[in-house]
């Protein structure tokens, strides 16, 4: 079991500095680990960035990687979680010919059933947006493929953890 690879969501709270993305991705690159997806954004704390990194490794590996990430001077704290520990989403967009919306009735049903949202429509094309789990996004992609997709893009995973991550307390402790 120990050697079994599984998906882990890594959450890293950092200072917002140039070069840190490079420093963190190098930790994976050096160990020959492929990053499945990576997202960087603001966090709940002003001035603190949050990385969400998805990797497929063993638990032993991810523990060591977390140690290496936390060792970086500008990293405040890093965590790893399994899918069960998080609420996670991806987002995707499709660009599709507008004609199809009227010619193929099936498309309208797909949009309805998948809870996708039409972002914009014009004479040439319409843009569809869908947020959800990877399987839902992939299902929608498969269904729409039959009709022809002009463009497709999918974001990296973003995830909220069920457990608390006490970053604010940590930062307050620094000033006391």
């Amino acid at each position: 079991m120990k050697d079994k690879k599984e998906l882990f969501t890594v959450s890293v709270y950092t200072e917002n500095n140039i070069g840190l993305l490079n420093r963190i991705s190098a930790i994976f690159q050096r160990r020959h680990i492929n990053i499945e997806s990576m997202n960087t954004s603001a966090s709940e704390i002003e001035g603190v960035s949050r990385f969400t990194i998805l990797v497929c490794v063993t638990e032993d590996q991810i523990k060591k990687i977390i140690g290496q990430i936390e060792k970086q001077v500008e990293v405040i704290k890093a965590y790893y979680h399994t899918d069960e520990d998080t609420i996670y989403q991806e987002s995707c967009m499709f660009k599709i010919k507008s004609d199809l919306l009227f010619d193929e009735r099936q498309i309208q049903n797909i949009i309805k059933e998948s809870n996708a949202r039409i972002v914009t429509v014009n004479k040439e094309f319409f843009v569809l947006e869908k947020s959800g789990r990877r399987e839902e996004v992939e299902l929608l992609h498969r269904e729409l493929s039959a009709f022809g997709i002009m463009q497709f893009v999918r974001s990296g995973r973003i995830a909220i953890t069920k457990n608390e991550m006490k970053i604010t307390e940590m930062l307050e402790a620094f000033h006391n």
């Binding site: 500095n17 070069g19 140690g67 001077v73 000033h175």
Partner: protein, 577 residues
């Protein structure tokens, strides 16, 4: 920089003054107590050199012959003094030439700050002349790095650089400064960095871990200590000695831990690892409690992990949480500074002497002495051995010299046989194994400790990788003693070829120049020894010389270093021949 992210020492009475970025750099260095820096000028760093010219009575710049030499000199300086070494170079090739030394300092936890010039900020990313992405290149081999494009950032960033380089587990920091930031004038005020909110240099000691570690040590029948450089970096030599003596625990060292405890101490049982001593390697797999202090279980120490100390409970005293359970699973991890941790565990340790257990180390040493050591230091064959040269240096320096070794066979011999009375006396490239390290590192070491004899022991291969630093030694009048042990081979690789590649000596034989003439070309005193009867007097002449001295000793061409743990084998499979 956001003030909320760092703690600074407020300099209330200090008025700001309007100066250039380059002058600010010098003032920052002075404020951090830097008295010497090693470097090489060039276009993008010229404003700083112009200030160095003005401040030459306050700060000494040593012109090396290659930027790699500047980093190794800064490392030698740092390793013998415990202070931060500083290297400086221009952009592009100047900066990339620093990388080997930076990588070496990173893996050997050496505090160093490197300052590089960079093309003006408006040219960044334009493939300008001598532009290279040194921040990108140095990222994986620095503890921290940063690019400055505005003069006003200089004081804060340099304060952070010194704080990061020397705190916690030390390491190299690179600061890249664009040329326009060096020229720009601003209101300068220097405030030292006292803390960074995202960085915890030293973990807080946990009393519970101390108690459980003490219990385990007290209950041990066959305990063994393996200490590393953490003892030296943490200045915990006295505490380690007290622990060894109070609990009667035999203690062995990693290559970078050498000299922390005097060689002659009865509980100092020698070096662990690939070419370490027989007893501590064999008994690693016999002890019941292995107490690792300030070391990282490098593969050259552990051999095959699957058969490393499996019978033992492991206690790991360590400052860097990422090292715990990285290679060897520990039973008790004591996170924190070595000195503080050992201080708090000492009162909880019972007096003990494991005399039967200690005797086992002595018995195995006797075997190693008969099979290996005697032949090395009192050879009966014609050719000179590296071991007898070390023995002679020991005799004449009485263990007071600092030994700076390069990488290869001579390094293993130097670390095995050099006798040390004081800490911080063994300076070598451990983790990275950087050939060419010793000659420039000896320059830095001698300058940081001018009162000490600094003897560089170098092979004929590594010597030629940074031989140009003889120019630095001559120009800056650094009285180092240089011993080249010449076997006309890349000896360690040749040894492996002999043992594991059926003696196919691919590209390991060296056709060497006349080293004495080269040294004399740099106006150094120089001598060559080829016979045993000449050795003692030549070493005496070298030790007595007030200036730099070069001694070439022609040793047996195909001697091997033993004991040896073959790559991938267990520590207890160590071979004596």
């Amino acid at each position: 920089m956001n003030l909320q992210t760092v703690k600074i020492a407020k300099a209330e009475n200090q008025n700001s003054e309007r100066i250039s970025g380059s002058e600010a750099i010098i003032k920052c260095l002075l404020a951090e107590g830097v008295d010497v820096l090693y470097g090489y000028p060039g276009g993008a760093i010229m404003p700083v050199y112009d200030e160095l010219y003005k401040y030459q009575d306050k700060i000494h710049h040593v012109l090396t012959r290659h930027e790699q030499g500047a980093t190794h000199a800064a490392q030698g300086y740092a390793r013998i003094s415990g202070k931060v070494g500083v290297a400086i170079a221009t952009s592009g090739p100047g900066a990339t030439n620093l990388i080997t030394g930076i990588a070496d300092a990173q893996i050997d936890s050496t505090p160093m700050v490197c300052i590089t010039g960079q093309v003006p900020s408006h040219l960044l990313g334009s493939d300008a002349f001598q532009e290279t992405d040194i921040v990108g290149i140095s990222t994986p081999v620095t503890k921290w790095n940063h690019q400055i494009t505005k003069a006003s950032e200089i004081p804060e960033v340099l304060a952070k650089a010194f704080y990061i380089a020397k705190s916690g587990r030390p390491g190299p920091v690179l600061i890249d400064i664009t040329k326009d930031a060096q020229f720009e004038e601003f209101d300068f005020k220097y405030e030292k960095c006292l803390g960074i909110r995202s960085y915890e240099p030293t973990p807080t000691l946990n009393e519970k871990d101390i108690i459980s570690a003490a219990e385990l040590i007290n209950s041990a029948k066959k305990p063994m200590i393996v200490w590393g450089q953490g003892i030296i970096l943490g200045q915990a030599e006295t505490e380690l000695k007290s622990l060894m003596e109070k609990a009667g625990i035999p203690a062995a060292w990693t290559i970078l831990g050498a000299s922390a405890i005097p060689t002659s101490h009865p509980l100092n049982v020698g070096m662990v690892g690939m070419h370490g001593n027989y007893a501590p390697n064999i008994l690693t797999n016999k002890c019941d409690v292995l107490i690792a202090i300030g070391m990282r279980f490098d593969d050259r120490v552990t051999g095959n992990l699957a058969s490393y100390a499996k019978q033992a409970k492991i206690i790991h005293f360590e400052i860097d949480p990422a090292e715990v359970d990285k290679n060897v699973k520990t039973d008790i991890a004591v996170l924190g500074d070595a000195k503080e941790s050992l201080k708090s565990i000492l009162p909880k340790i019972n007096n003990n002497n494991h005399s039967e257990w200690v005797q086992q180390f002595k018995d195995l040493y006797a075997i190693e002495y008969e099979k290996v050591i005697k032949k090395d230091i009192y050879p009966t064959k014609n050719g000179l051995t590296m071991g007898e040269v070390l023995k002679e240096i020991n005799n004449q320096s009485k263990g007071e010299a600092a030994i700076v070794s390069d990488v290869g066979q001579h390094q293993m011999v130097a670390c095995r046989y050099a006798e040390f009375n004081t800490s911080k006396s063994n300076i070598t490239s451990g983790g990275l194994g950087t050939m060419g390290f010793a000659l420039p590192a000896a320059i830095g070491a001698k300058m940081a400790a001018p009162e000490r004899d600094v003897v560089a022991i170098i092979g004929d291969g590594g010597y030629q990788m940074t031989i140009q630093e003889l120019g630095t030694i001559f120009q800056s009048k650094v009285p180092v003693k240089i011993v080249v042990l010449n076997n006309e081979f890349l000896g360690m690789v040749r040894q492996w070829q002999q043992l594991f590649f059926d003696k196919r000596y691919a590209s390991t034989e060296l056709v060497n120049p006349d080293f004495v003439s080269i040294a004399k070309g740099y106006y150094l005193e120089a001598k060559k020894v080829t016979k045993r009867e000449e050795l003692a007097s030549a070493v005496a002449e070298m030790m007595a010389c007030k200036d730099a001295y070069f001694l070439e000793v022609c040793v047996e061409k195909e001697d091997n270093v033993f004991p040896m743990i073959p790559s991938g084998a267990s520590v207890s499979d160590i071979r004596l021949e």
